[in-house]
Amino acid sequence: MSTLTLSGINKRYDNGAHAVRGVDMEISDGELIVFVGPSGCGKSTLLRMVAGLETITEGEMKIDDLRINETSPADRDVAMVFQNYALYPHMTVFRNMAYGLSNRGMAKSEIEAKVRETAKMLRIEDYLERKPAQLSGGQRQRVAMGRAIVRSPKLFLFDEPLSNLDAKLRVQMRIEIKRLQRELGVTSIYVTHDQTEAMTLADRLAVINEGKVEQMGSPMDLYSDPKTLFVASFIGSPHINLLPARFETGQLQVGTTAISGFEGLPEGVPLMLGIRPEHIAQHPDGGIEISVDLVEQLGADSLIYGAVSGFDSAEPEELCVRAGEALQLTPGERIKLNFEVDRAMVFRTDSGERLV
């Protein structure tokens, strides 16, 4: 039961790389926070700083109002689940889980009881005498979770724990992690580059880019109300459609098409129009025309990809439309589309700032 406060956290490496730039964050008790961002954005570094595996160059980190900058990793009372599980290969599952407890001077009988209880919760009690090499990927993942849970730490840290599992198992474990975290009520940070994982797990999401937190909020907030071009393009699958545009004489010029309904945008600067695929629909009087390239049938709905008319054919702009199953199209066909102007977003291309 703990809160974590980060204020002005910076990480500079000796070679001059500035991995984390001034992160401020307040994580309340029992929350599951997901750090999401492209690889190399500093999200893992930030997590490792919380764990104590990386030093903090600047700023202050507090667990329950106690400064932990100088506290050793073992004394921070945090548990981490690593990407490659990082189980101790020479120890049995039981000893893997008991190791952290016995080092903290817990009595043998108590360790035995705690390990068995945790193993039961994770359904690994049959494997306690096995070595990690004799387990499957999913089982190892459970043991890694068990090793973290058994310690009843103040914080759980997950560093891309599912990236080594196959797709089906990943979905299964994702649900399980969420359920366990709810049950145990332990404050957690989860790092991933997979935006679907991030959206489904998070209570709150921190989108990190180039060492900075671009935006933090609930998954739906970030999806429907992104503050920057980066967040808009990173969150959502399929990706948001982005079309280069200019604002001229009260209208938004997209290629050769003029779209009305936008006001007060700066003129003469490159803009980006962002529309989510589900906010576009076929309409006989639609202002945007595409020639269909590809149709992906997903069952419940289909994704239609096509090149937008009115752009130079050397640099075509692709558009993706989420349509119902009724719509049957063949490649090469031209269709007219309309979008909901009040749900569209406009960004400045240079700064990434959202204008509408």
Partner: protein, 292 residues
């Protein structure tokens, strides 16, 4: 259990024939010769010989000089193996903390390995020379009445020091690559689980290094038993009074300098049996504790 039976063919034997030939010519035949010789007693001029059954063995085992030599070999091998491994491990652990795969540095640390044992012995001989040896002077300056020519302990110290110095570098490289083979995540997980670095070393690092340690132990014992011949031959030559006479060196001095081929052969057969027993022991009892 079911076994897959392959059709028998002579082709595989052709593939291993060169290796078999090498083993036969350079190992089996000389070993057979040694066993045969060990039952013979030659006259002083090497003209005639007579079959004496186990007389040579009796003479060997009941001989004070041989027992002294065997005792020294055991102590010498134990100390050389222990110190070469311990020092190399300590250096490797310390280097691993600061070294991040800079291979040129690692290569430099390995240079001492390129020194042949006799050369190492000669260098040691110069350093412990009573007239110009810096180490000799340093030892005496520290108040240690050091003289390897007169004192058995001092002589043992010199050969052990040189043997260890020569071997530490190769052990270091193996330990270092062993350490770098331990997944970083495992060490980090241990940092979160255990506060004390010493305890982490003995519970995580050392067990994970066990395959390397076991391999090096076998190599180092062999080194101490046999390869240190060159070092002893260029420094003490078994002096004073046979105090630094290892079994291998005694085989050489008795056989080639003393011209007692029968006795020398008996000694080498006994040495062979000792090494065989030691190897069996290592693989049966120690390797079991190794986790690969």
């Amino acid at each position: 259990m079911k076994r897959v039976q392959f059709e028998r063919s002579t082709v595989p034997y052709f593939f291993i024939a060169p290796q078999i030939a090498i083993i036969a010519v350079f190992f089996l035949w000389p070993a057979g010769q040694a066993i045969y010789q060990s039952f013979l007693l030659e006259d002083a001029f090497g003209i005639s010989s007579q079959f004496v059954w186990f007389r040579n063995y009796e003479d060997t085992i009941l001989n004070y000089a041989w027992l002294q030599s065997a005792g020294f070999t055991v102590i010498f091998s134990t100390l050389v193996t222990f110190f070469s491994l311990a020092i190399a491990l300590l250096l490797a652990v310390k280097a691993n903390e600061v070294l991040h795969g800079s291979s040129s540095y690692k290569t430099m640390l390995m240079w001492a390995y390129a020194v042949a044992p006799p050369v190492a012995g000669l260098m040691g001989n110069l350093m412990f020379n009573p007239f110009i040896g810096d180490l000799y002077a340093a030892m005496n300056a520290m108040g240690w009445d050091f003289n390897q020519k007169l004192d058995a302990f001092d002589a043992g110290f010199v050969v052990i020091l040189i043997s260890v110095w020569k071997q530490v570098s190769v052990n270091f490289i193996f330990f270092l690559s062993g350490l770098q083979g331990i997944p970083k995540g495992v060490m980090e997980a241990a940092t979160l689980d255990c506060r004390s670095p010493t305890k982490r070393f003995w519970t995580i690092t050392f067990p994970l290094l066990a395959p390397t340690t076991f391999f090096l132990m076998v190599i180092n014992i062999t080194y101490a038993f046999f390869e240190t011949f060159g070092i002893i031959d260029t420094t003490t030559r078994g002096a004073p009074g046979g105090a630094t006479n290892t079994l291998v060196y005694k085989v050489y001095t008795d056989g080639f300098l003393g011209a007692d081929l029968g006795g020398s052969s008996a000694q080498s057969v006994i040495l062979m049996l000792m090494v065989l027993a030691l190897t069996v022991f290592q693989f049966r009892f120690i390797e079991r504790k190794v986790h690969y």
